[in-house]
Amino acid sequence: MEALRRGDRIFRSLTQASAFLVLALLGAIFFSLIAGGFEAFKTFGFSFITTEVWNPVTEQFGALAPIYGTIITSAIAMLIAVPISIGIAVFLTELCPMALRRPIGIAIELLAGIPSIIYGIWGLFIFAPFMQQYVQPALISMFKPVPVLNNLFAGPPYGIGILTSALILAMMVLPFVTAVCRDVFETVPPVLKEAAYGMGCTTREVVRTVVIPYTRVGIVGGVMLGLGRALGETMAVTFVIGNAHRISASIMAPGTTISATIANEFTEAVGDLYTSSLIALGLILFFITFIVLGLAQLMLMRLEKKAGT
């Protein structure tokens, strides 16, 4: 009996310790990144995130170009992925024949399971040449006569670059956003939809005036979740971004992102300041994704509470 009691206590403390380990893990990640990036922040101060220069030879490091690249690729990716994801989710919940719902749903989920390095190698060998041959020349000639916009689509078609990375990112976050949207669309009470159809609403009107308003918070949560993924995505982007430390007006020019910079340069970084600058970049990335993912969680939790009551 005494042995049983002791076993009980030990098991309980073990589980408790493990649970707190998860909390400690987050703290340890933050702490180690702050410690590792301390030298860079001490040397450059606040100007680390406001300067564009990245010169390993003179040991001048500024994070502006990678930060810009991270944000612009993710933003374009979300602009493309969100409407398509909502479209697929509507298809899966409203339009698709019952027999096909599961297989198509699983196929989209498989897209989420493909490792990011596969997107990278596919993007480099198949998608980038396709962009270079067909899409980019078409975009360049299409926007040539348009003022302002022609700066966005200027320059030689490299194939690789910001736009190609953004499109690959869009393909990668698509299944995540789709999955969340489909799940929240399924929480809409059928009675609401049936009432709307009964009043003579078309499918489009039911989706726009019933389904989407009812699930708005959930959709935003799903979008933020996808954004968090896109911001931190490494391998796929590293293959196709071109790793150029500059900010170009054209979205077809090569650029870089925080994660691609770290992946490309970390093992080759010579000197403490170089390494420290890369770790500081990692800290900035972790901070940004932490906030985005945190907001996503809060929104999805709010929806769950609503569904629970």
Binding site: L4, I88, G232, A263, T267
Partner: protein
């Protein structure tokens, strides 16, 4: 009241366009999946010779295989899962069984969900600071640790969710028999949630076996056979990364063969996991 035919027609058209766009979106999603899988099949099978499984990674310009990379991937994934799974299961157990209504649990759940989607390259940096820098060299052990950090949140999530599904009456019945709490959890709750927890572990394996970013500067790479956990070790994803970006055709062909292997392994694991969880729920 006269029926406004023009307006009705407009609404019908708008709806038809929306429906068409949704079909197109789904078709696009499937087309992307098909395009990626088709490329992998064509390019991967071309490079998939028996040599791939029997020879080491070659120096540039010569023939060879991926044996040391395959072995390295298996070893590091296995160690990562062996370290990460118990921690994940125990933490999930605390959240679902002991601390179900605690404030702490909701904080842990919040943090865990963030860790689940956090950039994996940051995990690599973390383990670099934690292990590689103090030890002074890259090692397979550090790579495994980085993978373990990625395993934990996945397992915590599924364990907690599956234990929450176990009906409370089961726990109450065994409690009435006088079983201590820890035995109720281990003998009753775990048994009821077994299939779901296994699914979580399979999904975690699927996730980490394709991860590249956390291995780049923890286990690094190794051109030769190595069974020393304290030394750099090759892994399939890192070799693919290195070979795909190289200008040598032999290397690129091996990269495609490796890519096909990883994808088949990962997709098989996730399909098995899905089948396992769906066969349980249909009972």
């Amino acid at each position: 009241m006269a029926l406004d035919r023009a307006r009705y027609q407009r609404r019908r058209t708008a709806s038809a366009i929306t429906i068409g766009l949704c079909w197109a979106a789904a078709a696009l999603g499937l087309a992307i999946l098909a395009a990626i899988l088709a490329t992998l099949m064509i390019k991967g099978i071309a490079g998939l010779t028996p040599k791939v499984f029997t020879e080491m990674t070659p120096p540039p310009g010569s023939d060879g295989g991926l044996l040391n990379a395959i072995a390295g991937s298996l070893v590091m994934t296995a160690i990562g899962v062996i370290i990460g799974t118990p921690v994940g299961i125990l933490a999930g157990t605390y959240m679902a069984e002991y601390g179900r209504y605690n404030k702490v649990t909701s904080v842990i759940r919040f943090i865990n969900d963030i860790l689940l989607s956090a950039p994996s390259i940051v995990t690599g940096l973390f383990v670099y600071e934690l292990m590689v820098r103090p030890m002074g060299h890259f090692s397979a052990l550090a790579g495994s640790a980085a993978l373990a950090v990625l395993v934990i949140p996945t397992v915590v999530r599924t364990t907690e969710n599956m234990l929450l599904l176990v009906p409370n009456t089961l726990r109450e019945a065994s409690s009435a028999l006088g079983l201590p709490r820890s035995l109720i959890i281990r003998k009753v709750a775990y048994k009821a949630a077994r299939a779901g927890m296994l699914t979580g572990i399979l999904l975690a394996i699927a996730r980490v076996s394709g991860e590249t970013a956390p291995l780049l500067f923890t286990s690094l790479n190794n051109q030769f056979w190595s069974s020393d956990l304290n030394a750099p070790m090759a892994s399939l994803p890192v070799v693919i990364f290195q070979y795909a970006l190289s200008p040598y055709e032999d290397w690129q062909r091996l990269a495609w063969a490796g890519a096909l292997m990883i994808t088949v392994a990962v997709l098989t694991l996730s399909i098995v996991a899905r089948w396992l969880s769906s066969s349980r729920t249909s009972q």
